[in-house]
């Protein structure tokens, strides 16, 4: 079992036009910048991107948006300082947006990875974001029914990995990466350091069973 792959280019090769792609990260922390750059170079178009933020500036998700490769964005918070390319595309009507409360986004992704058919969350009950959704009141508390959210691919950023695809993370760069790794048909991890020896099984955060390929990308933002 050896999930290592030599280059970022090979790692993103299976991603075709029209694919849905989860991308880990929160702000600029834990973002798989190497894989995003490779995806931009590949120029796969008409992508659906699932990521918490919509990038800032002319790099990472911002660059992906600037290049016009994204037709739909699913996220919780696309309005960070510097999210100019998203705002431009949105104002021009060139991009579809699905806005999801952050915890519901994480939980929908988890539900997909965990084989569940949906869940009831109190989040958003009675608000505009629950409009048109099935709701239920249990013991006087209102809940919204939410469906699982999966994707064709997940691009993951981790700190260390081994040839089995086991991953560990660094600080708050963990964020959406472990849960997204569980919910894609094909998960690709970029790691700052590929370990020659197996990771300590007590320290593995993402078991390799969730990871299809792992590629080293030593740059830390």
């Amino acid at each position: 079992m050896d999930k290592r792959i030599a280059t970022l280019e090979e790692a993103v090769a299976p991603i075709q036009d029209g694919a849905s792609v989860m991308i880990g990260g929160f702000g600029n922390s834990g973002v798989p910048f190497g894989l995003i750059d490779a995806l931009i170079a590949k120029r796969a178009r008409n992508l659906t991107i699932i990521s918490n933020n919509a990038g800032a500036g002319d790099f990472g998700l911002g660059l992906l948006l600037r290049e016009g490769l994204v037709s739909k964005f699913i996220c919780s918070y696309p309005r960070s300082r510097g999210s100019v390319w998203f705002e431009k595309a949105y104002a021009a009507g060139e991009i579809a947006l699905e806005i999801i409360p952050q915890g519901t986004l994480a939980e929908r992704i988890r539900a997909a990875g965990a084989g569940l058919g949906g869940f009831l969350t109190p989040t958003g009950f009675g608000t505009r974001l629950a409009e048109g959704k099935e709701t239920r009141v249990i013991d006087g508390k209102g809940y919204v029914f939410e469906l699982p959210l999966s994707a064709d691919f997940a691009l993951i950023r981790a700190e260390r990995g081994d040839r089995w695809g086991n991953l560990s993370y660094h600080g708050t760069a963990r964020n959406f990466n472990p849960v997204m790794a569980t919910a894609a048909r094909h998960s690709i991890a970029e790691v700052r350091e590929l370990s020659e020896t197996p990771l300590d099984p007590e320290r593995v955060v993402s078991p390799g069973i969730f990871i299809d390929h792992v590629v080293e990308y030593g740059v830390r933002p």
């Binding site: 929160f26 960070s80 806005i99 915890g103 994480a106 989040t123 608000t127 993370y169 472990p178």
Partner: protein
């Protein structure tokens, strides 16, 4: 009227954060609260992006770009900290484990409704973040905001006009002019900023303010 500065307001609110509390400070001004919590109180700060135990801003030269809080500010790590991923982080928020959350707001209604994620201004794309999860999960929601908008219009209302973040979720509002509890009977005055009168504050508040009980 006497209006607290943002820093004075953060300092006032900080007095009500007890020793041993788990606290989530919303993005923006609420993050300043931690600087004013008395040093003899040990408080652990949760940030939605996967940490309990947010420490102070790093000193120059010791920043780690992948160590940030929900406001994307660089942070350090306090003793007793733990890292976790997003689904777990929001399980902590939604599951009632955090004691207090401090949030900013556009509007608060006398029934506790909170509007803090969208205005009626549709020029910008909507963005919700984690506020909706916090307000349904955290048993004690403190709002920290200016008492009125820049144009003088009230933010403490009978009913919110902006899209809601949560229904009946606010417990207490700290403004530059006063501190008010949300009660089953509506807003009730807790204290006035020194020098203000209830009548003065009521005059710039749409909702009725009940006197201290």
């Amino acid at each position: 009227m006497i209006s607290l500065t943002d820093e004075q307001l953060a300092a006032r609110l900080a007095l009500d954060i007890p020793d041993g509390a788990y606290v989530n400070l919303g993005i923006g001004k609420p993050t300043h609260v931690s600087s004013y919590v008395p040093a003899d109180r040990e408080v652990l700060y949760h940030s939605e992006n996967g940490i309990i135990g947010v420490g102070p801003t790093p000193v120059e030269g010791e920043e780690d770009p992948e160590m940030i809080d929900a406001s994307k500010r660089l942070i350090t790590v306090a003793p007793g900290a733990a890292f976790f991923e997003h689904a777990d982080s929001f399980a902590i928020m939604r599951g009632g484990h955090i004691d207090i959350a401090v949030l900013g707001a556009y509007q608060v209604a006398e029934n506790g409704d909170l509007a803090n994620w969208a205005t009626q201004d549709e020029k910008f794309p909507p963005a919700v973040g984690g506020a909706m999860d916090l307000v349904v999960g955290v048993p004690c929601i403190f709002v920290m905001m200016k008492h009125v908008n820049k144009d003088g219009s009230p933010k403490l209302l009978k009913r919110c006009s902006y899209p809601l973040t949560g229904l009946g979720v606010v417990n207490r509002v700290y403004t530059d002019l006063a501190v008010l509890d949300v009660t089953p009977d509506g807003f009730r005055l807790v204290e006035l900023t020194d020098g203000n009168s209830l009548a003065d504050v009521q005059a710039v508040t749409e909702a009725r303010i009940l006197p201290p009980s």
